[in-house]
């Protein structure tokens, strides 16, 4: 039996050996588990979270914009979309059909949705329609039991309650352009909008706010299971503008009969822009979802360029409004005084050129105030000739001409104040005396924007305080902090201002003023202003000799631009404005009545408001 014992011994030894081997294998597996679940556990925990957690940005609500009295000009309104999820409905076709019986859905859209749904996974919701009305929303909501897979979603839509009235100031938002992408994931959200023009563009960063984030769990197919964490975004900053919507609306209405015009109304003491209008205008709402091609063509092919803000971007020869600058420069240089007289025969012979006064038969003898009131060209030819162009240009620049004024809007243009150096640099030619004469009446190379003219009027009205135009009352970040320092003084003597302002008073209220129709007819409150008529096309001597064509006889686009700058009340100036009516004919006829009405409205609004929020009374302004 030893053979049996032998094989039993061998078997037992080897069985124990195999048992030990099995134990070793189990031990190896335990070691492997220890390595995975203890040593490298953290790393795998991270990978597991990466697997299951997705992020989504939550677009912040864009900052709202208010007028100076808190009336909303730009806000966000909830917008409702209706979506359909393929996998939650037995038949997409049938569900869309049922939906289309409740709210209008074009047949074409139904096909698009079906095609789109087929391209995505079944759980991805597809937008069927946006911008549901309350009525439609309610109808879908009520019928959800019969609409499997249909869901409603709310978003925020930029809304401009006053539409075209504020379009040139506010600008508009639109879908993010390719060029704006800078890696900020917020910009890649399909519903995100950025400012494209106006205040919306300049203050875009402040208005945007900060994005929120939502972390949610997804399964291996990418389906959302539940939200794990949510941090709502920080809405953008609200802005309060200096604009008075009531006045702005009035300005807009008053200009509505004009083909092309611009108006700027300023607070003379602060530079606050109370109204800024340019017609024709446009509807900013058209831009929010991207402009249709037809609207775009319509806007861009219009000769009156509705998209251009002419109040800051239109450049016009200032014409006779510029005589105020020439007068101030001459007074400061001692080239004229209250009693300095010039005889106006109707023209001035210089070499073989004749320089005409607008009044063909001349004004006769006049002093400075009368010369301003009657806008005698000869008087200012005389001043300009004796002063020289460089002195005139220097004074013009002190009043804000020939430079951008830093208003918080894109598209501001600098205009042009020519001098000798400018002509040599740009034309390579010496300055001609005749050009000085032309500059003296605001024609020739001279160009100014309505904003610049309004600032000029404001600085004359406030006694030479260097105010700058501004549109936003509270700078983002400074939150209502008062301006750091009172405006600098221009250093022009009060005596000079008093004479010029007197001239402006006479323009409107004097017996022989050029804009007597602009009088407010109020013994308490007087308007002071200056007309301007700037030539679009040089009148040939032949024309002048043969037939003096009246503006009304010319084709519209050849007619003169009508300008008017003004301030009121004369006694204690508060508001300054500039009106430019393109091809309006004459400043007196076309622009001054508009100025009068706007100013009257501004003063009336002032009176009707129980507690005027316009900044405190004039400091150092003339009584």
């Amino acid at each position: 039996m030893h053979r049996e014992a032998d094989r039993l011994r061998t078997f037992s030894r080897r069985a124990l050996l195999l048992g030990a081997g099995q134990l070793g294998l189990f031990g190896a597996i335990a070691g492997r588990l220890y390595y995975l679940q203890v040593v490298t556990a953290d790393q795998y925990a991270l990978l597991a979270d990466e697997n299951r957690i997705n992020h989504r940005l939550l677009a912040p609500a864009r900052g709202r914009i208010f007028d100076r009295h808190g009336v909303p000009l730009a806000r966000n309104s909830p917008t409702y979309r209706v979506l359909v999820t393929r996998e939650q409905t037995a038949s997409l076709q049938a569900t869309l059909g049922a939906l289309a019986r409740l709210i209008p859905v074009p047949d074409q859209r139904v096909e698009e949705v079906i095609a789109e749904a087929a391209r995505h996974r079944g759980f991805v919701p597809i937008t069927v329609r946006e911008d549901l009305t309350w009525n439609e929303l309610a109808r879908v909501e009520l019928n959800t039991p019969d609409l499997p897979g249909v869901s409603l979603d709310a978003g925020l839509l930029r809304e401009y309650p006053v539409g075209p009235i504020m379009a040139h100031v506010l600008g508009y938002v639109g879908p993010v352009a390719e060029t704006e992408l800078n890696g900020d994931p917020l910009l890649e959200l399909p519903e995100f909008r950025t400012g494209k023009s106006g205040i919306e563009k300049v203050y875009d960063q402040a208005l945007r706010g900060r994005a929120g984030i939502s972390r949610f769990e997804v399964n291996a197919l990418g389906r959302e299971i539940k939200e794990l964490y949510r941090q709502d975004g920080e809405p953008g900053r609200d802005l309060t503008l200096t604009v008075d919507l009531d006045l702005q609306r009035y300005v807009h209405e008053r200009l509505s009969s004009e083909q092309s015009a611009a108006v700027v109304v300023l607070d003379v003491n602060t530079g606050d822009v109370l109204a800024l209008a340019s017609v024709p205008t446009f509807d900013p709402r058209a831009f929010i979802d991207g402009l249709s091609r037809d609207t775009w063509r319509e806007l861009t092919s219009n000769a009156n360029v509705p998209l251009v803000n002419k109040a800051i971007g239109g450049q016009y020869p200032p014409g006779s409004t510029f005589k105020l600058i020439v007068a101030l420069a001459s007074l400061e240089a001692g080239a004229t005084g209250p009693d300095y007289e010039v005889f106006c025969p109707g023209f001035l012979q210089l070499g073989d050129h004749q320089f005409h006064c607008w009044k063909r038969w001349g004004h006769g003898r006049l002093k400075l105030v009368d010369a301003i009131a009657q806008s005698c060209d000869l008087y200012f030819y005389d001043l300009a000739r004796r002063l020289g162009v460089d002195a005139i240009a220097a004074m013009a620049r002190r009043f804000g001409l020939g430079q951008t004024l830093g208003i918080d809007l894109p598209g501001e243009r600098p205009g042009l104040v020519p001098d000798r150096a400018w002509k040599r640099a740009t034309r390579g030619l010496p300055w001609q005396l005749g050009e000085t004469l032309i500059a003296g009446i605001g024609q020739g190379y001279m160009q100014a924007t309505p904003l610049q003219l309004a600032v000029m009027a404001a600085r004359i009205a406030n006694g030479g305080q260097e105010v700058w135009p501004r549109l936003v009352r509270r700078e983002p970040g400074t939150d209502g902090a008062p301006p750091a320092a009172p405006p600098r003084l221009l250093g022009v003597s009060e005596r000079s201002f008093r004479l010029v302002r007197q001239g402006m008073y006479e323009v409107v209220n004097g017996a022989r003023g050029t804009a007597r129709q602009a009088s407010l007819n109020d013994p308490q409150v007087a308007l002071a202003g200056k007309t301007g008529t700037s030539q679009v096309r040089r009148i040939s001597r032949a024309e002048r000799a043969t037939t003096v064509r009246k503006n009304e006889d010319k084709p519209w686009e050849e007619r003169d631009h009508a300008l008017f700058v003004a301030f009121a009340p004369y006694q204690a100036p508060r508001y300054a404005l500039a009106v430019v009516v393109e091809h309006g004919g004459s400043g007196a006829g076309a622009a001054s009545p508009i100025a009068r009405d706007i100013m009257a409205k501004a003063l009336e609004l002032d009176r009707t408001r129980a507690s005027p929020t316009v900044s405190a009374g004039p400091s150092g302004a003339p009584a």
Partner: protein
């Protein structure tokens, strides 16, 4: 002693049913039930906290399998000795049948449809191989085994089904057949150096074998060597499985709270990767706990083998123990990224009837060996078939 008296004595040792039930190793049965209970819990979790579709059916199958196991355990071990070759022959025929059927249907074929249920001959073969070899070596003493000619039959018993299974192709099962057969020969006393020779020449034949492998098998091996090679394709399973295991940590994420499992990042979580799910949700503690239960069964197997009085029983108990622990080791090594994914389920835990039946029948045989451990089986019981 005449042959008849031997036979008479052999038959005379009969145990009553009550004795057998008393001899049945109840702690072993309890551990088996415990493991199946773990399996039930895992399948309940795999369905996201539902008895459907897996957990309920799993428990029904287990109940049936348990009855079968006890029935087999109570059957005299000599019956299994008598039927060993016949069972092997039927399993081999089954393998040939699925091979032919596979050639007809131009694809991998592992099942025979018997109408009521599907039979997987390769699973039957795992036990049949052990039965056949145990019977063969029952009559062989060490000097018999030392004769090379004596090894031709057992080699054929192992290699024939291995080749057929590899052809299916089922790499996991063929590895298990080969390893089980090898272990039995080793236990029967085949010399060390012969194993060294075979393993050496097998390693030499590896390049040849490489060319024999199917593309997907090559992919599995390559992906095993570097799972990042194809993170969304073949490597996806292993990467996700390791993430699930690792992120489970020591204490786990809690039952029904495994993010990898519940959010479907883990594939095949109810079958081959069920252990990963357990390790994610119950952590290292849970995983080692289950491993310990498996180890207890293996240890019992070793005890059964060592205390059996007949060589057939020893070899049978040890062979089944090894087959069973190979299931466990291969499955866990596979899901932990130690070896390529070969598609071996975790016994009693993974959803799927065939593997559970194989393991429970195997346990039944082991228990039968243990119950009848005192019965001596003659080397050449000529009248046994009568």
């Amino acid at each position: 002693m005449t042959i008849t008296t031997v036979a008479a004595r052999f038959r005379s040792i009969e145990l009553s049913l009550l004795e057998k039930l008393r001899l049945l190793n109840w702690p072993f049965v309890t551990v088996v039930a415990l493991i199946a209970l773990v399996g039930y819990g895992m399948l309940y979790s795999a369905a996201g906290g539902s008895h459907e579709p897996w957990a309920w059916r799993h428990s029904v199958r287990f109940a049936v399998g348990l009855v079968l196991m006890v029935a087999i355990a109570l059957t005299d071990v000599r019956v299994w000795f008598r039927w060993a070759y016949a069972i092997y022959g039927m399993a081999l025929l089954g393998l040939i049948a699925v091979d032919i059927a596979g050639q007809i249907s131009m694809g991998a074929q592992r099942w025979i449809n018997l109408g009521l249920f599907q039979l997987q001959p390769s699973e039957v073969m795992k036990l049949a191989l052990v039965l056949a070899l145990a019977r063969y070596f029952h009559s062989a003493y060490l000097d018999d085994v030392a004769r090379p000619a004596q090894l031709i039959v057992p080699l054929a018993i192992v290699l024939l089904p291995t080749a057929l299974v590899l052809k299916q192709p089922d790499l996991g099962t063929s590895v298990m057949l080969l390893a089980g057969g090898g272990a039995l020969m080793f236990l029967a006393g085949v010399r060390w150096w012969k194993f060294a020779l075979v393993i050496g020449s097998a390693l030499g034949a590896l390049p040849v074998l490489w060319h024999q492998l199917h593309d997907y098998q090559k992919q599995r091996v390559l992906t095993f060597l570097d799972p990042e090679r194809d993170p969304l394709g073949a490597g996806y399973h292993i990467i996700q499985s390791k993430i699930a295991l690792g992120s489970g940590g020591v204490w786990g994420k809690g039952i029904l709270k495994g993010t990898q499992s519940q959010l479907s990042f883990l594939p095949e979580k109810q079958t081959d990767f069920v252990f990963t799910m357990l390790a994610e949700e119950a952590g290292l503690i849970g995983a080692l706990g289950l491993l310990l239960l498996f180890l207890v069964l293996t240890a019992y197997g070793l005890v059964f083998a060592l205390r059996a009085r007949n060589q057939f029983g020893r070899l049978l108990a040890m062979g089944i123990t090894i087959t069973f622990s190979l299931y466990v080791v291969i499955n866990i090594a596979m899901v932990t990224g130690l070896i390529p994914v070969v598609g071996v389920p975790l016994p009693l835990i993974s959803y799927g009837g065939t593997a559970m039946m194989t393991v429970l029948i195997g346990f039944g045989l082991m228990l039968s060996v243990d119950i009848h451990r005192e019965i001596a089986i003659p080397r050449f019981p000529v009248d046994l078939d009568r």
